[in-house]
Every structure is written in structure tokens, then in C-alpha cells.
Symmetry: C2
């Protein structure tokens, strides 16, 4: 990338963004010239600021106010300017240790992650539970509930359970369900949940004949259901701490959006391989977030991205800190989950 701005302009822009992130007040030339890292007179700075305004990096609320960074400025700041901080060892140690105290259930770990993320950053956090597509079958029970419906209770190798209501094809009896349950527990444990119904098909044909296909379809519903993932959102009320939301009607519309529960879409996993995404203001698809920035990071177990989490804050958020915290969280969560899920011993692959 070619140098968009000369070094001096960069420095001034950094100083303005840093200051604005801290104070939320328009930054003036005199304030800047007092800083140690800028050795220029106010007048010179004013000239530079005037240029930066023309280039679209700064905005002026009104003639006699200081300058405020534009979204373009944040973009540049985030990609080229800010120092990509790492947390101190104590901080990351603290995070990891807290997370490791919650090793009994995946849900607990996710919740604790969300809580810490919002607690440390003081913004709103969104954490998605890991996808279980690669989970392997450990135990299954098909339990008839009413005429035509059955409950499938699946335990995966990671110890997580899920239960799904299934519609039982006509003609399948409780005895059939029992037979299928035993068949699956005997022959299919260790297979990926998503593969089970296909792999099982030939065996089913032997056991229950012509209804095998409809039963396989029913079992497919289990892996569909398993792909539904929960999302923890914590710290929405934190936003009220920032002058951006001093106006109650703004606060209300933000909080209502959060309560709708579709915010997780903003945190949807990035394309494979992309670790971190920063979306600033209007870059967000959701118009309700046009004054917010959303930073998301994916987390991995065993080298594979299985989920993501994010932080939502005002565009004037502390990008550097949030990036650092998210990195650490992602690593910690990944490693804690790995430990939890490593109870998976027998892996049988589906030969396609």
C-alpha cells in the first residue's frame, strides 16, 4: 500500500484519534500542540488539520469547534496507525485462569467468556457457542413421546448433550425406535453426527426394510438441530456509560436492537481463514449499528475455526485494547475448549 499521508499528518491524525477516543470531545490545535509527541505550533497543526479535513479524515461539528475523526480516519487508524498492543502476562494469565475454572460445561465457558469480555472492555460482548458439526456420537436415545413424535437425546464425545423433537414416520413403532437406538449405539458411535444418518442407511435397510429412507431423513433432523447455536450477549447496559448514548432515545433503539436477539448476525463467522474483522460505523450491515464499531474474532479448536465472538462499542472505541483482549480471549477459549473436548477417543471417518 502506498503511503497515503506523510509522516507528520499521520502523527497528527493518530494524536487526534487517540485523544478523541479518550475524551469524546472535538480536538483542537492548541490541545495537540501541548502534547509531548507533537512539537509543532498550533498554527502549523491547524494547516495540517485543514488538509486532513479536505482529505476526508476529519470532520468539524461546527466552524468554531475542534476536529473529530471520520470513519475513514478510524479505518486508517485501525489498519495502519495504532500500535497493536498485547496484553501483559498478568492480564492474559487472569483471563485464562478465570476461564479454566469453568471447565464442566461448554455453556458455562461461553457465558463466562462473554461476561469477562464485556467486563474488561466495558463494551457489549457477543459470544457464539462452538459449532458441533464435527462432534462425534457417543450415545443416543430415541424415546417415543406421543403418537408420531419422538425425542432424540444425543450425547457427543465432548460431553455436550442436545435433545431434538423428531417427527416419526408413520408405521414406525416404539419397538422399531428401540431397535434403531441399539443399532446406533452399537455401530455408529465415534462417527460424526452429520454423517450418521447416511452411514446408517445400509444397516437400516437390513433392519427395517423399506422405511429406511424416511427414518434416515428423520435422523438427519438431529444434525440439523445440532447446528443451531446459542449466543451470549452481555453488557448492553455498558453503552449507557458513553456520551454517545446520553440521549435516551438513542440508547433505547440500541438496546431494543440488542433485545431482538439478532445481533449475533453481526458476529457471524468470517470466511474461513480470516481471524479478525473490524467493521466501523456504516460498514456494518445493520443500520442500527451505524454509530458503532464491531470487532469480531474467531476461535479455533484443533486448528479448525468453530465459533466467533465480538465486541460492540461506539465508533470511538478503544480499538487497540479491544483487539488485544479479543486475541487473548480467542486463544484462551480455544485452548480451554480443546482440553474439554479432547475426551474424544475413537474417531471413525466416513469414507465418501
Amino acid at each position: 500500500m502506498t503511503q497515503l499521508l506523510d509522516v507528520r499528518k499521520m502523527n497528527i491524525l493518530r494524536a487526534i484519534v487517540d485523544d478523541y477516543i479518550l475524551t469524546a470531545a472535538p480536538v483542537g490545535s492548541r490541545t495537540l500542540s501541548k502534547r509531548d509527541d507533537i512539537e509543532l505550533s498550533p498554527a502549523t497543526i491547524r494547516n495540517e488539520m485543514s488538509d486532513l479535513t479536505e482529505l476526508g479524515f476529519l470532520e468539524q461539528p461546527h466552524t468554531s469547534a475542534g476536529r473529530v475523526p471520520s470513519e475513514k480516519a478510524y479505518r486508517l487508524y485501525v489498519s495502519n496507525i495504532m500500535d497493536r498492543a498485547r496484553l501483559t502476562d498478568e492480564e492474559s494469565e487472569y483471563i485464562r485462569r478465570h476461564l479454566e475454572q469453568r471447565v464442566s460445561e461448554v455453556g458455562d465457558v461461553i457465558r463466562e467468556t462473554a461476561r469477562m469480555l464485556s467486563g474488561i472492555t466495558n463494551y457489549t460482548s457477543v459470544v457464539q457457542s462452538p459449532k458441533m458439526k464435527n462432534a462425534r456420537l457417543k450415545h443416543i436415545s430415541l424415546i417415543p413421546v406421543t403418537e408420531g413424535t419422538a425425542l432424540a437425546v444425543v450425547v457427543t464425545n465432548s460431553g455436550s448433550t442436545s435433545s431434538t423433537m423428531l417427527t416419526v414416520p408413520a408405521g414406525i413403532t416404539a419397538q422399531d425406535l428401540d431397535k434403531i437406538t441399539h443399532l446406533m449405539n452399537d455401530r455408529m458411535t465415534g462417527y460424526k453426527i452429520t454423517d450418521v444418518h447416511r452411514t446408517l442407511l445400509p444397516l437400516l435397510r437390513e433392519e427395517i426394510g423399506e422405511q429406511a429412507d424416511s427414518v434416515a431423513e428423520m435422523l438427519g433432523g438431529i444434525s440439523d438441530d445440532l447446528s443451531k447455536r446459542s449466543v451470549e450477549v452481555v453488557g448492553a447496559a455498558n453503552m449507557l456509560d458513553y456520551p454517545e448514548y446520553a440521549d435516551v432515545s438513542k440508547a433505547k433503539s440500541f438496546l431494543s436492537e440488542i433485545e431482538k436477539g439478532e445481533i449475533f448476525k453481526e458476529v457471524l463467522p468470517n470466511e474461513d481463514g480470516v481471524e479478525m474483522t473490524i467493521r466501523i460505523g456504516a460498514e456494518n450491515d445493520n443500520p442500527e449499528l451505524k454509530d458503532c464499531s464491531v470487532i469480531t474474532v474467531s476461535y479455533s479448536v484443533g486448528g479448525e475455526q468453530v465459533g466467533s465472538m465480538g465486541v460492540i462499542g461506539p465508533t470511538r472505541m478503544d480499538y487497540s485494547k479491544v483487539v488485544a483482549v479479543l486475541k487473548c480471549m480467542s486463544e484462551s477459549l480455544g485452548s480451554v475448549l480443546s482440553k474439554m473436548l479432547k475426551g474424544s477417543e475413537s474417531h471413525k471417518e466416513l469414507k465418501e
Copy 2:
């Protein structure tokens, strides 16, 4: 109860409360005298208001402002004055129909109840899931997970499932767990979950001898876990619509309290037999709710109170409407749950 106030004072008080609930602005004597239901001159009203203030039913924000009802006034209003409205048939029909569309899962019904409750009242709703203490065992699986831990998956006659991580006593093998599972499915279905571990004890003695007691204790953990109940809280952001929360810092402290997730305590079931409770302002245990009123109602299945729900709003809430909506909701939820849970056929009672 003896008549605390004469009829005219009652009328004036009702008018003031009604007006204040509507407008949130202090009510003056002239405003009142313009109302059709009060045929008195402002001066007369002033005299009465002065008396009511002395008696503690009214308060004055400052000398030259109108009067505002005190908590004592709301108390009186709620117990003796307000007309206990019922919903129209269309309204209650609407509620019932909406709820009946969610018959597949208890959790869905609870969530929809909370959503409607907050949607209709425009306050914050809290709905507790029904207690399952009387649920009866339909199916159980004990699945070894790691050395020393097992997962208990329980399906009740109502079709709801729960899974609990149990600590397996030393010396109990996977085979033992299997044996116990079969024993329970063969002999204990239809019993109340809470009774199972006790009733099973003699049978366990036969099967696994001296370890029976520790196993029974482990199984007791299942019913402990089953008594954990989820709570849905919806519409916290609604509070921002009211001038009481125009101050962001108030809004923040309310929302933070909600987010802490302990609000359900305010909705804890009333003593048996009490159907509805109204707690006004300082009557709430939680100091964070001292400017709020909480109305809770219990709901029943088969004549037994199994849960409760409530609405949280400013003390200046529309008591009459909320009471009516809660009554209707309680009945609808009760009847919908009854239908869902009536799948319970075989009941075996524990002979004590």
C-alpha cells in the same frame, strides 16, 4: 376494613392517580375541576388535597407544583379504588391463540409468554418456567463421560428433558451404570422424579449391594438439578420510554440490575394459595426497585401452582391494565401447559 377516607376524598384521589399514571406530571386543582367526574371548584379541591397531603397520600415536588400520589396512595388505589378491569374477549382470545401456537416445547411457551407480556403492557416482564418437582420419570440414561463422572439424561412424562452431570462414586463401573439405567427404566417409570432415588434404594441393595446408598445419593442430584428453573426476562428497554428513566444514570442502574439476572427473585412464588401480589416502591426487597412496582401472579397446572410471572414498571404503572393482563396470561399459560403436560398417563404414587 373501615372507611379511611370519605367518598369525595376517594374520588379526588382516584382522579389524581388516574391522571398521574397517564401523564407523569404533577396534578393541579384546576386540572381536576375540569374533569367531568369531579364537580367541585378548584378551591374546594385544594382544601381536600391539602388534607390528603397531610394524611400522607399526596406529595408536593415543590410548593408551586401540583400533587403527586405517594406510595401509600398507590397502595390504597390498588386495594380499594381502581376498577378491576377484565380484558375484552377479543384480547384474551388473542393471547390464548398466540400461546397455543407454541405447543411443542415448554421453553418456547414461556418465552412467548414473556414476550407478549412485555409487548402488551410495554413494561418489563419476568416469567419463570414451571417447576418440575411433580414430573414423572419416563426415561433415563446414565452415560459414563469420564472416569468418575456420568451424564444423566432424564425425560419426563411431559416430554421435557434435562441432563445433569453427576459424580460417580468410586467403585461403580460403566456396567453398573448400565444396570442401574435398565433397572430404573424397567421399574421406576411413572414415579415422581423426587421420589425415585428413595424408592429405588431397596432394589439397588439387591443389585449392587453396599454401594447402594452412595448411588442413591448420586441419583438424588438429578432431582436437585431438575428443580433449577429458567427465567425469561423481556422488555427491559421498554423502561426507557418513561420519563422516570429520562436520566441515563437511572436507566443504567436499572438495566444493570436486570442484566445481573437475579430479578427473578422478585417474582419468587408467593406463599401457596396467594394468587397475585402487588409490591409498590419500597415494598420491594431489592433497593434497586424502590421506584418500581412489581406485580406477580402464579400460574397453575392441574390445580397446583407450578410457577409465577410478573411485570416490573414504574410505580406510576397502569395497575388496572397490568392486573387484567396478568390474570389472563396466568390462565392461558396454565391451560396451555396443562394440555402439553397431560401426556402423563401412568401415575404411580409413592407410599410413604
